[in-house]
Amino acid sequence: MNNEYRASVVVRTVAYILAAPLIVFGLYVILHGHLTPGGGFAGGAIMATFIALFLVSFGRKGAGSLHRNLFSVLESLGLTVFVVLAFLGISNTFFYNFMVNSGHLFGRVISFGVNPGYLDTGGVIPLMNIAVGLEVFSAISLIVLEMFTYSREDKND
């Protein structure tokens, strides 16, 4: 029996069309987490949707081209960066925002009220958003990939 999984041309075309917007929108949600609704969790989930769509469209062949260990490393890296950022403010308290209102990187001082939304504000919040986004993206991708790979192997035996 031919066990080569191949999605229909409709699914593959939609995957091609949606690939770039999904990644760009996910990155946008992560990077603008301190200005607009969303953040690391939502953006990471959006980017992981791309991996799920990729697996749906290209099946086992596509899964073979993804590096599982890379996702694993990225996941651990994201969580480690998050904890390290939390520990960097330990001179005051755990999770102290030591970069806010400093005038340096991500330290632009803003006043109460409406503003245009400057990207370099928020102190460690944007960095934590990026770390969490990386972690969520890798974790969900890894879960989807792992379940896809090993749940299909049983059927082919």
């Binding site: 301190h34 200005l35 953040g39 919040i125 934590m128």
Partner: protein
């Protein structure tokens, strides 16, 4: 016997519906009793954390510990999936 059970069930249902409705009547939605914390975050959140999004400022700054737990849960979930799907293969 059967009828007795039905009466008990109906009584219990009526009681729970009554409690649910009374709960909604006691506390109207959108009007919290204690607003000190909300007012604090709304007044000082933007200036203290520098982020326009108050939800993010709470999640990643004031209550960062909670987010750490959430991220750890996801990490544990991925580890669990690894364990379930790969442990089988090694036998």
């Amino acid at each position: 016997m059967m009828k007795e059970k039905n009466i008990k069930g109906v009584t219990l249902c009526v009681l729970f519906v009554f409690l649910l409705v009374m709960g909604f009547c006691l506390r109207p939605a959108g009007e919290p009793v204690n607003t000190e914390m909300d007012d604090y975050f709304i007044t000082y959140g933007q200036v203290q954390t520098g982020s326009n999004n108050i939800v993010t400022s709470v999640v990643f700054d004031y209550r960062g510990m909670d987010t750490l737990g959430e991220a750890s849960v996801l990490f544990a979930a991925a580890s669990g999936v690894f364990l379930v799907f790969r442990g089988e293969r090694n036998e």
